[in-house]
């Protein structure tokens, strides 16, 4: 009997078996370049973590931190009063990606996740069935926990370690089906940071080896990064590597695409490339502000030193974003791509506080940059009305011609909306790291911004020095130096009523 294939053919065929490992279903869902939908624009959202608008010269900062953003802004929409909904990554990013406030998505803790009932209300799900290739990457493990929840709605999900210099995390590799829980377990047992670990012996061996690896990396790169290599939770990364990858990836992705890239710089540690070290070795000193009721006790000189390093790191980020923009311009991608440049929260160097691990919601920690590079735009457009990160989702849906769902709590940003910009809208920010996830807010900080005024409200803090309310007129006191809250003041009362109503509404669910 003659068989249709002989032994040699069978072996040839067998050699192709490894190809079975390719994720065919996801590739099949991607449109080929020949069938790409030219009418649908690409969307690239680039989030630089902890980028405060206050420290960007684009918005008038004294140091020339963002010459590239200023250049790019000449053909973009620049938002001058853009707010994150929170003062750290998890809630800020969750709001950006769900178009809802933290009291709705409930990702309000470090390594917190979006409430199960809300998780399907995300940006990527809205783009499904529209022919888009949806890709995400984040350096930041906090936002990775959120992006992991959206995995069913993504064609490409890239793990943080894939663009990092080391490869020490194991929960993503061993437990990819249960990453978020396994990650908290790993964080408990193995030294992802310098906390006491739950593994008595192995964690010490692993930790010391990781420390040795870090020293090796820093030694290898000391000519380029003389102050050290930045890292978070034991991952060490180079901004330049991530930008190189982004340049290459967006050029090759099947179009139309929706890409969300979340990069850690200028997040602490502020370790810039050598070209930016000592860039701002000047005598400039920021306005000295009184110690906050939540002061961490840092002296002004310490804060000024860190602010300088942060400013230099921002200049580094600015240069790298400029490189990405130029590359996209060169290969013609900007002709059909909306590029959104923003951040998840800001950073503080004042009132005895450094960073963003704080209960306060002063401007530097919640006001973030927002630039939208609009295909075909030839001149700069400035938007001065207050806007929020919850507005990004409806705006992107609008730009892609997708209906905006009812659950969305944001609005289409001007000038893309068909209506006139409305500055009488109330925008909210909050911090509730220690409040239980599914419970009324009884320990939290809130802020409402309306027009020129901003009211902050602190609930449940034991410290008697913490005021219940603070109010500032941002038009003539953008440094928030003079608390104008008064029970007899009409604006104070109006903002207080708006905020308390909103908190009561949020609490009614529990």
């Amino acid at each position: 009997m003659k068989y249709p294939i002989n032994r040699r053919d069978f072996l040839k065929f067998s050699s192709l078996l490894p190809l079975m490992a390719i994720d065919w279903p996801s590739l099949a869902s991607k449109p080929s370049s020949s069938s790409q939908n030219q009418a649908s624009p690409n969307v690239l959202v680039v989030v630089f973590d902890a980028f405060s608008a206050e420290n960007a010269s684009l918005y008038g900062y004294t140091r020339a931190t963002t010459p590239n953003l200023a250049r790019i802004a000449e053909k973009a929409v620049v938002y001058h009063h853009h707010y994150s909904t929170a003062n750290f990554t998890t809630p800020g990013t969750a709001s950006l990606l769900t178009g809802t406030y933290p009291w709705t998505h409930r990702a309000i803790h470090l390594h917190g996740t979006i409430e199960k009932e809300v998780v399907q209300n995300n940006l990527f799900r809205q783009f499904s069935g529209k022919g888009y290739t949806r890709l995400v990457y984040s350096h930041n493990l906090l936002s990775t926990s959120l992006l992991y929840q959206f995995r069913p709605d993504l064609e490409v999900f890239k793990w943080p370690r894939e663009l990092c210099l080391d490869d020490n995390q194991f929960s993503d590799r061993i437990f990819p089906r249960d990453y978020n829980t396994a990650f908290i377990g790993e964080k408990l047992m193995m030294p992802l940071d310098t906390d006491v670990s739950g593994s008595l012996f192995l964690s010490l061996i692993m930790g010391w080896l990781r420390g040795a690896e870090k020293r090796q990396i820093e030694e290898r790169l000391k000519d380029l990064y003389p102050e050290g290599v930045a890292g978070q939770y034991g991952h060490y990364y180079l901004l330049e590597t991530a930008i190189d990858w982004t340049i290459k990836t967006v050029a090759q992705l099947p179009q139309p695409f929706l890409a969300y890239i979340h990069l850690l710089p200028p997040h602490e540690p502020y370790l810039s490339r050598k070209d930016f070290v000592d860039l701002f070795a000047d005598e400039w000193k920021p306005t000295r502000k009184p110690k906050a009721h939540f002061s961490q006790g840092y002296p002004q000189q310490y804060l000024n030193q860190h602010r300088r390093s942060y400013d230099e790191y921002i200049a580094n980020v600015d240069a790298e974003f400029g490189r990405l923009y130029d590359s996209m311009a060169q290969n013609g991608l900007l002709e059909n791509t909306y590029v959104i440049f923003t951040s998840d929260h800001g950073e503080l160097f004042e009132r005895g506080i450094q960073g963003h691990s704080t209960e306060v919601l002063y401007q530097p920690v919640i006001q973030v940059p927002l630039l939208i590079v609009n295909p075909g735009q030839t001149k700069r457009e400035d938007v001065f009305v207050n806007t929020s990160s919850v507005d990004i989702l409806p705006t992107l849906l609008h730009l892609a011609g997708i209906n905006i769902p009812d659950w969305c709590e944001g609005e289409i940003l001007p000038p893309f909306a068909n209506t006139n910009p409305d500055n009488s809208r109330s925008l909210f920010c909050m911090e509730a790291k220690t409040n239980p996830k599914l419970a009324p807010f009884n320990k939290a900080s809130f802020a409402v911004v309306k027009g020129d005024h901003k009211l902050m409200h602190y609930i449940g803090y034991d410290n008697d020095e913490v005021p219940d309310f603070e109010m500032f007129n941002l038009a003539d006191d953008f440094e928030e130096m003079k608390n104008r809250y008064s029970k007899n003041d009409g604006v104070s009362q109006e903002l207080k009523d708006i905020l308390l109503d909103k908190i009561n509404e949020a609490n009614q669910r529990y």
Partner: protein, 178 residues
Amino acid sequence: MAIFKNRLVSKQEIFFAFVACSFPIYIWTFYKIFNQIPAWIVKLNIGEVASVSAYAVAFSLFESLLLCLFFLILGGILPERFFRRKFVAHVMMMMLVSSIWAVIAQFNYSEVYGWTFAELLPWLVVYLFSILAVYFLIQRFDLFAKAVYRVVKGISVLATLYILVGVIGLVVVIIRNI
């Protein structure tokens, strides 16, 4: 094969060695879990807290097995009178001393993490001396070795419970990942 069998300790001794290894490891893991629970319950529900704990205790089971294996290999390599004759007592005391040093290192981890090998070396020498000290105590004093053996027998009930928890944790982890 016969040579290999001769160099292996009895099943009961293996069990007690495993008890000696798992006892400090689980105590530490439970301490960390209970330490973290207040932070977890604000963001995780009861099921999620149990799942994270399952990963932790399953990891401890793995760590205990690894250390027990190390001692079994050591027992197999060293001549009988040097280690195997008082195997359980040696393992228990080595684990006890190592655990004390490990706890000290854990509480100073942010410093230890940054040490070069040269900085670590003096501490490794001190650690090895403390191990040798308890080793000679066990070798020299039979009464001491017997007392340690009795302690191991005493804690074996509790340790069996820990091991059971570890096995349940492992099953939970497997179920969550299939």
